[in-house]
Amino acid sequence: MNKVIIKKQNLMMALVVGRGETVDLETISEYKMPRGRGEIVVKAVVMGKGSLELKGMIKIGEKAVLTEAFLRQNILLLGEDAKATAVPELEIETDDVKASHAATVGQIDKEQLFYLTSRGISQGVATKMIVEAFLEEVLSQIDSKEAEIIRVKLERELSYGY
């Protein structure tokens, strides 16, 4: 299994971890100069028997005063035996900065599912709509070709069942 390490201050990423697939990803955001600005958002959907290792580090050095850095990891576990490890880390060596991170791991919001199905939309279609909506925040902000690739993968994975 290959680990992918991305060193960036700004990143929007949507991940579909397919059925039985393993993904190991680490993002590292380093700030060494004053007034840095950056936001990392990783949104991932993990299908049945899929496994995701997601690590995200924000390092703000002594000289990087007045920096504002954010990290968000949102993971949706969709299938049976889907697994995820989320490790958002912060190392801050100076004051006068704004840094925060958030990580959530969960399943499909039952209230959203009820709302959609109560309008006659079948569970399968409703799930697909909710998962797409979940990733949309990122997909709408990245290159449209890349977004399309991810949408196609999601469509395929959902069709296998979860």
């Binding site: 697994k83 490890t85 989320a86 958002p88 880390e89 801050i92 004051d95 958030a102 959530t104 791991v105």
Partner: protein
């Protein structure tokens, strides 16, 4: 006998302290050493056997100690956390027995010991609302008085040493079950040389409405503190255990490697509150863990103010359905300090819930790190966890880290984690100062406000002591 050095009451003056013993650290005082004997420095099998023999322990406990000693030798030092490189295990006395017996009433306690505790404010503590006090002085339980009402309810609250002899079946059943010597090097060390600590047993359905407290302190050069606490809360029972301690400054380093094991049975509830304010030469490496059964609740309230390095991650194993765990942690790291603290919640069963709230402050070059873990095993359906870590860095030289790990092996769960790092807001500071407060007073108010959600969970005398300490630290008169 020749193995043991006899020391008579040589006055062990420490030139850093003035005649009141109040140096630049409010509680930085030390009593002259007039102990019966001291164990030699360093650790080997003989020392372990001697400790067991002096306590007149049954064979099974001696065996556990020896196993601990062997594992200690095999285990490596952790390669994460703080800097442990300066600890020299051979440069420590592992046992000192003061020439006191366990006393039943405050007046019977020798003046020297009483003076020590006077300065800590213990007489206030021995008041109506307290259940009983077991105070540790140099690895031994010196003072204890169990109130009759506790005894009548069937509650056992005594020193760990006493428990091994008086309640052997109970102790043997639970000792080392959640924290075996193989857990980490310091748990192994503790298993080998533990001395003192509390044993608490609350019978089924009994709710202990008064908090149980314990005090102890290190008071000898190169003295290690290895107390071992075991708390068993039987079905439907409740107890709140409180511990707080201080230690004087020494020119050589002190090691505190304690172990706390707690078992909460079905429907039981336990709250364990600690305020640690060791002086800044102490290595505070503690392993604390609770095992919670169905519908049980465990709450750790952990305040880390002192020590040179603290590595402490109170943990809760949520083993039964609907078990709930809470860890409220405060860490304050000033000059030369590193607080590496946090908590762990392991969800093993369905519908379990956990909450970790951590508030940390670093200033004057201090380093405060949150280290935590939430694990949800397969089968922990509908488990929920929320972690909130907030850190305040007060100046440019200080440092704050957050190292959370979230391992989810079950898809039908929900986990939320958030962390923020910030400094004191200029607007807030300006606002308070414009009302006539000096800068350090305003800072203290803001910092106290920052930690208030956790401080309000502490017993009152602790919250007052904590607020006062923060004020002193902001003022710069301490640390």
């Amino acid at each position: 006998m020749s193995r043991f050095a006899l020391i008579n009451s040589k006055n062990n003056k420490n030139t850093r302290l003035d005649q009141n013993g109040l140096g630049d650290y409010k509680y930085g005082f030390s009593m002259p050493e007039n102990y019966v004997f001291k164990s030699k420095k360093g650790l080997d099998e003989e020392v372990v056997k001697m400790i067991s023999a002096m306590k007149k322990e049954p064979v099974w406990m001696r065996e556990k100690r020896l196993k601990g000693y062997r594992v200690f030798g095999e285990k490596k030092m952790p390669d994460w956390g703080g800097d442990l490189s300066k600890i020299d295990f051979n440069d420590i006395f592992y046992y000192i027995k003061p020439n006191q017996k366990v006393e039943k009433s405050w007046d019977d306690v020798p003046k020297e010991v009483r003076d020590t505790y006077d300065k800590l404010g213990i007489p206030e503590a021995e008041k109506e609302f307290l259940g009983g006090v077991k105070a540790q002085y140099e690895s031994e339980v010196v003072y204890g008085s169990l109130r009759k009402d506790l005894e009548d309810l069937g509650i056992i609250f005594c020193g760990m040493d006493e428990a091994v002899v008086k309640y052997p079946e109970l102790v043997e059943e639970y000792f080392g079950k959640i924290i075996p010597p193989g857990d980490n090097k310091f748990a192994a060390l503790n298993t080998a040389v533990w001395s003192g600590g509390s044993f608490v047993y609350i019978p089924k359905g009994v709710k202990c409405d008064k908090p149980l407290q314990a005090y102890f302190r290190i008071n000898s050069a190169n003295m290690g503190q290895f107390e071992r606490t075991l708390i068993i809360v039987d079905e439907g029972a409740y107890v709140h255990y409180v511990e707080g301690c201080t230690a004087p400054i020494y020119t050589t380093d002190s090691l505190h490697a304690a172990v706390v094991e707690i078992f909460v049975k079905k429907g039981g509830r336990c709250r364990y509150t600690t305020i640690q304010n060791w002086s800044t030469n102490v290595y505070n490496l503690v392993t604390k863990r609770a095992w919670v059964e169905e519908d049980g609740v465990m709450e750790w309230v952990d305040g880390n103010l002192g020590s040179k390095l603290t590595m402490k991650y109170p943990s809760v194993f949520l083993a039964g359905k609907r078990a709930h765990g809470e860890i409220l942690s405060i860490a304050v790291a000033g000059k030369g300090q590193h607080q590496d603290a946090g908590g762990k919640c392991i969800h093993l069963a369905a519908e379990t819930t956990s909450r970790i709230i951590s508030k940390s402050i670093s200033f004057r070059g201090g380093r405060s790190s949150y280290r935590g873990m939430v694990t949800m095993n397969k089968g922990a359906k509908n488990a929920k966890s929320k972690v909130v870590c907030d850190a305040l860095i007060l100046d440019r030289n200080s440092r704050s880290d957050t190292y959370p790990v979230n391992k989810i092996f079950e898809s039908e769960v929900s986990l939320e984690h958030e962390a923020t790092v910030s400094k004191i807001g200029e607007e807030q500071l300006f606002y308070l100062m414009s009302r006539g407060f000096e800068e350090h007073e305003a800072e203290a108010m803001i910092v106290n406000g920052f930690i208030e959600p956790i401080v309000k969970e502490l017993p009152m005398e602790y919250s007052i002591e904590l607020n006062r300490l923060i004020n002193l630290q902001m003022e710069g008169s301490v640390g």
